[in-house]
């Protein structure tokens, strides 16, 4: 549970993004504190992925500002990205590389120095359950393991903000449970944003939930508030997005 005094790790104000005349995202505010897991919900095409791509610097917002750990993403993108880990919807995996080679590349890209490389690599593999897979070529791994490699890539440099776009898609129930407990674990030390279509996942993992619809945030409450009101997340979701 994040308390109100915990440091702000991510703050995005009035994010807007236009594609030509079409507005994909408008006036989205996202604030995240250390130790908080935020669930981003919404029907297909609501702007979740666009928002996440803007937060990670893959897409420049048309207007608005993004700060990661107090560093402006638009002014100092390189410094800001040091504190970020991102797993896109399609994991950015090089299928010809082995798991070790790939994770070492990710670590080097995030400026992990030489002496700590091996420890960092072992730690990331341990957390994602990839101890045995180090020498396997990524292309030969199953979907679930590829997804884990994707997550390992996002957390290898122990970032303050971790952004996961549909991390449990295509996984079997056991793997989903494992990934969820991993996310909970990550949420203890960092801030996590997670987008998903599975409402029960949000209920079991997240501290706070935002629902997006047609490019705007239409709902923003903590899970405890929601429980106090006695309304189910599903009822809120259907009511707001239909």
């Amino acid at each position: 549970m994040a308390d109100e005094t915990a440091a702000l790790t991510l703050s995005a104000q009035n994010l807007c993004r236009k594609y030509g005349h079409h507005t994909a995202v408008q006036n989205v505010n996202v604030e995240l504190r250390r130790g908080e897991v935020l669930g981003l919900l919404g029907p297909n095409g609501a702007g979740k992925t666009t928002t996440m791509r803007m937060l990670t610097g893959n897409l420049a917002p048309s207007t608005g500002s993004i700060e990661i750990c107090g560093i402006d993403m638009l002014d100092k993108p390189r410094e800001a990205k040091l504190h970020l880990g991102f797993l896109p919807e399609i994991p950015p995996l090089y299928h010809d590389m082995t798991v070790d080679e790939y994770l070492l590349l990710a670590a080097r890209l995030h400026r992990i120095n030489k002496q700590t490389l091996q420890t960092v690599l072992d730690n990331a593999k341990l957390r994602c359950g990839l101890e045995v897979q180090g020498r396997y070529v990524i292309g030969t791994l199953s979907k679930g393991f590829q997804q884990r490699v994707g997550i390992a890539q996002a957390i290898i440099h122990s970032p303050d903000v971790i952004i996961l776009d549909e991390p449990t898609v295509g996984l079997d129930p056991n793997q989903m449970r494992e990934i969820r407990s991993l996310i909970r674990e990550l949420g203890a030390s960092s801030s996590v944003i997670l987008s998903t279509h599975i409402l029960s996942e949000v209920e079991s993992v997240c501290d706070r939930v935002q629902i997006m619809h047609k490019g705007s945030v239409v709902f923003d409450q903590t899970m405890t508030e929601l429980q106090h009101q006695g309304t189910s997340l599903e009822a809120v979701f259907t009511q707001l997005t239909q």
Partner: protein, 247 residues
């Protein structure tokens, strides 16, 4: 950071048998040309002796090998440059690089230099082939140097152009065909230019290379090559940045 990208590009390149096969094939063809020229030289050697200022082995053997190498590398570059950005985009792996604390300039320069390291290996092999002639005679090192420099610059131009075209599409094959088309176009200008001898020849890459091939290190040609390389690298960076802003 650039070093990390270069290392990544090289490991990606040499992980597959493709680069090795290409290296072997290029070497095979060039050695063949080399041996044919050597054979021809040995045949006409006695006649050459009667001329007042006869051409040496460097002129008769090595210059044609470098001229051939330029044409082969023109054909090979699209095969290597196509994957640089187009394949990353198709496999959605560009996100890894862009989300990392690396600037677009680092990514583009890293990829360009990674490809140049491969070509440097090819050129080193050609130089080694040329130096093997020292077993049988004296070499004109000045001519060898100007040829090496020229070949290095002209392949750098091919690579920069290939990288830019690779940034325009998500289909590696289209990038390859596009690059080959433009490079052949620049070669055709060369043919046209040698007929008309007009301003067109200033645009031809191989025409400029010919100067180096004959042993002339021309500052105009060097300036043209460097301008060409810088232009296409800047265009590539702008293209990737533009995608982030508008795409």
């Amino acid at each position: 950071m650039i070093v990390t990208i270069i290392r990544k590009e090289l490991s990606m390149l040499f992980i597959s048998p493709f680069a090795w096969i290409l290296l072997a094939l290029i070497q095979l063809v060039l050695t063949w040309v080399f041996l044919v020229r050597l054979d021809a030289f040995l045949e006409i050697q006695s006649q050459l002796m009667q001329i007042a200022n006869p051409p040496g082995i460097t002129e008769v053997i090595i210059s044609p090998v470098f001229a051939m190498a330029a044409i082969i590398l023109l054909m090979v570059t699209p095969l290597l440059s196509m994957r640089l950005l187009a394949e990353e985009r198709r496999n959605h792996t560009l996100t890894l690089l862009i989300s990392a604390p690396v600037s677009m300039t680092d990514i583009v320069i890293g990829k360009f230099l990674g490809l140049m390291v491969f070509f440097l290996a090819v050129i080193t092999l050609i130089v080694a082939l040329s130096i093997s002639l020292r077993l049988g005679g004296a070499l004109d090192f000045g001519l060898l140097l100007s040829n090496t420099l020229g070949l290095l610059l002209v392949t750098a131009c091919f690579s920069a152009l290939g990288l830019y075209i690779s940034s325009l599409t998500a289909q590696p094959v289209i990038a390859a065909i596009g690059t080959l088309g433009v490079l052949l176009g620049l070669w055709m200008i060369n043919l046209a230019a040698s007929e008309t001898d007009g301003w067109l020849q200033y645009f031809s890459l191989l025409k400029h290379f010919e100067q180096f091939n004959q042993g002339l290190i021309d500052t105009l040609s060097i300036a043209y090559f460097i301008l060409f390389i810088v232009t296409f690298l800047v265009l590539t960076i702008r293209r990737l940045d533009g995608e982030r802003l508008h795409g």
